[in-house]
């Protein structure tokens, strides 16, 4: 198990290096520089700015010095926010994004698995079609539509919930969590329905039924464990995605998260900020994929056997 873990960890290093290198050069290839603005920057000022951020050096030298700093955990200064380091900006945005991601994931898991299980119990009946077509709508409905819609209904018409903010008023975290979780809930519903259907047709379930076990025990004790494996495999990358924040949800609800920085950095050609958020995001994806693999192995006896060296 440990060997499996460390091999996977080592494999992550070249992946990250490729991400860093490709992003670094792609960002510089994009037309338009960080200091271009509607009002032209005087050439003397531009020279001073470029020298300030080492942009006057040859590109390979910029690259080596950037990677050198990165090894020590330093993402460099932001171009857009002169007084802030990229590390500082990421740390400022992470708590809200992580919290939002966690709530959204909980919303998605609870609603998604429940809907999936309910649907799988009576396939191809109304009990299946209703939750599943709702799920389909959930997948199709973009958050820039769902968010304002929820705000309109619960925030403005019914006046039950705050329409924006994060931790400013009681209940202001509910609408963004639902908005963000909805799409994932729909996906999880489909995954868990599929997983459950497959498991429920297995011999050991038939055996359990033949033994006369109550249906509740069959589903929650025997079927669920196998049925949710596809959901767990999905959770890793999903959680990484949720953690990195959502530009749309964060702007609609005024949440001071990472997603806004991530997208604005690209628009602003804030090179160091693009690099920082991309590398950070890549790191999260690698980490959570690894974790979900570990959990999958731990939960699935067949995979566990393989990981321990059996064939």
């Amino acid at each position: 198990m440990l060997k499996f873990f460390f091999t996977r960890l080592l494999q992550a290093i070249p992946v990250l290096l490729v991400v860093i290198t490709v992003t670094f050069f792609l960002v510089r290839l994009a037309p338009g520089g960080p200091f271009d603005a509607e009002k032209a920057v005087p050439p003397e000022v531009l020279k001073a700015l470029e020298a300030n951020y080492r942009l006057d050096l040859p590109v390979w030298q910029q690259y080596t010095s950037y990677v050198g700093d990165l090894v020590t955990g330093d993402f460099g200064p932001s171009f857009r926010y002169p007084g802030r380091s990229v590390n500082e900006l990421i740390m400022a945005g992470l708590p809200a994004s992580a919290e939002l991601g966690l709530y959204a994931l909980l919303v998605a898991l609870v609603i998604g698995t429940l809907a999936g299980i309910i649907a799988s119990l009576r396939p191809n009946t109304a009990q299946d079609y209703i939750p599943m077509s709702t799920a389909m709508i959930g997948i199709c409905m973009p958050s820039f539509l769902l968010g304002p819609l929820l705000v309109l209904v619960f925030g403005i018409w019914l006046d039950w919930l705050p329409i924006s903010g994060w931790g400013d008023m009681p209940g202001d975290k509910i609408l963004p969590s639902i908005t963000m979780g909805a799409g994932y809930a729909a996906y999880i519903a489909r995954l868990s329905r599929g997983g459950m259907l497959e498991v429920l047709s297995q011999d050991y379930i038939r055996t359990a039924r033949a033994k006369g076990l109550p249906e509740r025990v069959i589903i929650f004790k025997h079927a669920l464990r196998g049925g949710l494996i596809p959901v767990i495999a999905f959770l890793g990358p999903a959680f990484a995605g949720l953690l990195s924040g959502s530009f749309v949800v964060e702007t609609i609800f005024q949440i001071p998260g990472l997603g806004r920085f991530f997208v604005q950095a690209a628009f602003n050609r804030d090179y160091t900020m693009i690099m920082g958020t991309t590398v950070f995001f890549a790191f999260l994806i690698v980490l959570f994929n690894l974790l979900s693999d570990v959990i999958a192995v731990w939960i699935n006896p067949r995979l566990r056997h393989q990981a321990q060296g059996g064939h």
Binding site: G32, D36, V45, L89, G171, F267
Partner: protein, 546 residues
């Protein structure tokens, strides 16, 4: 079936209880109600500011906050924009209009209680001109003798620059030319004083982005002090007891909310979370005009929306073609049917009545004359006219305008126009490299004077990406107008220059911007003006209304 029913029922009950719990949470006191009581103004401020260092920043959100934290020698009257005393209680201008002597208030202080002296301005301007600082607005100080040479590194002795502290409370500034708008420049943040001891405590004077601008560190001289700064969330400022006019400041503080999404901003206003918004979604203007006109403020803004023509493009080289394109645009229809935000159809490049200056112009809509000019230029009924591209940065608003212009040109001149949109930075790079035929543009004046609209069109000017050049125009703008003996003579020269611009038309002005905001009825002292400038000491909130 019977087995899972109890689970579902339980879930339903929990769901209902949860909803009830939520409904109990709503209906708390809104920002506006609390703000009216505590005299805290809630201000929708666009984006997260880049910085709060007046010698580094460039944007409007930064302007809004810095004007609460710092104050220059001279301020602006919130209604007329005429200069009013600020740190300087009075000033004299020499006969030749080149020497300004300012008497500073004896009771002007920094927010830590330190006295504010003439020497502080000398040091601050020295800092603002340091090349390494990368101050993009350093040019605002260039009317001062040798300021430009110093900023460009041509001279290194700052004592040659035209700013001197005569004594503790007297400051003398010498200019290259009589500059009628010079007093206005002093209300721009690039001319604001900064607290030397604080800046030097946190780094070198010319270091970009040291920690001096953080809450707790920031020492200013404005009506408010920086209280908190939460990234992408809020910046709060509270009353500065050391401000010379503190007893006249009626607000206890301002909370600046960085809200990028204009729809979110409007919803927050409706929910009573904001006293005043930075703007309003275009599709909501009509609704407010009809239902709540008292909440909506729309005033002309010192900015022009225009199309740039690249005169290096072979078929746009011909002045007749450019004039034909101009004559085929129905500006009235554009502002009535497309922009719909109270914009004024442009009659010149400089907005009308800019400190008493109005250009003489003939930007009329005359499709017949346009067709005649096209025929004269060799394109009768548009025949043989190459497909021409209009470039704009990706945005719904710009697209609508481009489509309307495309149709007008097609209808009246029978020419084919292709539309192309690019991401903002790509767009800027295309324009700067001259890779366009026609591109959209906007220009916001730095100060209220025609010069800020006209000096950009001199040959090879940094903002003149059209390739246009006219010797007489250059001569007026660079030599004659600055040396003009009187404001009338100067305006006369400016009118001549603008007439050249509007005849040769390297740019086609479309409309004059408006600033639009939503303002709660409890807010007083916010007057719309050309610069969308709010003078915070004049603002107050009444408790009675929401």
């Amino acid at each position: 079936m019977g087995l899972k029913q109890p689970g579902l029922a339980k879930l339903a009950i929990v769901g209902v209880l949860f909803t009830l719990l939520l409904s109990a949470c709503g209906g708390g006191e809104s920002n506006v109600e609390a703000g009216n009581r505590d005299k805290i103004l809630h201000f929708g401020n666009g984006t997260e500011p880049q910085e709060l260092d007046p010698h580094i920043v460039t944007g409007i959100p930064e302007h809004n906050i810095i004007h609460a934290l710092l104050e220059g020698l001279v301020g602006k009257d919130p209604q007329t924009l005429e200069p009013i005393p600020a740190v300087a209680k009075s000033w004299q201008i020499s006969e030749d209009g080149k020497t300004y002597t300012f008497q500073l208030r004896e009771n002007a202080r920094w927010s830590n209680g330190d006295p504010l002296a003439a020497e502080d301005f000398v040091w601050s301007w020295w800092r603002a001109l340091q090349p390494a600082l990368g101050n993009q607005y350093a040019y605002m100080l260039f009317p001062v003798v040798n300021a430009e040479a110093y900023a460009n590194g041509d001279i290194t002795d700052f004592s040659q620059v035209g700013i001197k502290a005569i004594d503790k409370h007297t400051l003398q500034v010498t200019l290259n030319n009589p500059t009628p708008y010079f007093l206005q420049l002093l209300d721009h943040y690039s001319a604001f004083p900064v607290h030397r001891a604080t800046i030097e405590k946190f780094g070198a004077a010319d270091e970009r982005g040291s920690r001096w601008t953080r809450p707790g560190n920031y020492v200013g001289n404005g009506p408010f002090v920086l209280d908190t700064w939460k990234l992408n969330k809020i910046i709060t400022v509270r009353k500065n007891p050391h401000y010379w006019g503190a007893d006249k400041v009626r607000l206890n503080g301002i909370d600046f909310h960085p809200i990028e999404n204009v729809s979110t901003e409007e919803r927050m206003f409706r929910a009573g979370q904001l006293h005043i918004t930075g703007t309003i979604p275009i599709d909501k203007i009509a609704l407010y005009q009809e239902k709540h006109p008292q909440l909506l403020q729309v005033v002309p803004y010192l900015g022009t929306y225009y199309y740039r023509l690249n005169v290096r493009t072979p078929h746009l080289k011909d002045q007749r073609v450019r004039r034909a394109l101009n004559l085929a645009i129905d500006r009235q229809s554009l502002v009535d049917n497309i922009t719909k935000g109270g914009e004024l159809p442009a009659s010149s490049f400089t907005p009308p009545d800019t400190m008493g200056y109005t250009a003489t112009s003939d930007l009329r809509f005359d499709p017949e004359e346009a067709r005649r000019l096209m025929a004269e230029a060799g394109y009768p009924n548009g025949e043989g006219f190459p497909v021409t591209e209009v470039l704009y940065n990706t945005s719904e608003g710009h697209q609508k305008i481009a489509v309307a212009i495309q149709q007008m040109w097609n209808k009246h001149l029978n020419v084919n126009i292709r539309l192309n949109n690019q991401d903002w930075k790509v767009f800027l790079s295309s324009v700067n490299m001259g890779q366009y035929s026609i591109s959209r543009a906007g220009w916001i004046g730095d100060y209220v004077d025609p010069n800020t609209f006209l000096d950009m069109w001199v040959t090879d000017g940094g903002n003149n990406q059209t390739g246009w050049s006219n010797a007489r125009y250059d001569d007026i703008i660079l030599r004659l107008a600055p040396a003009a003996p009187s404001q009338e003579a100067r305006h006369e020269l400016m009118r001549e220059a603008e007439a050249i611009l509007l005849t040769e038309l390297p740019v086609i002005p479309l409309y004059i911007y408006t600033s639009k905001s939503l303002i709660q009825p409890s807010v007083h002292g916010v007057y719309g003006n050309l610069m969308d400038h709010i003078h915070y000491p004049a603002v107050w909130l009444d408790e009675g209304t929401e």
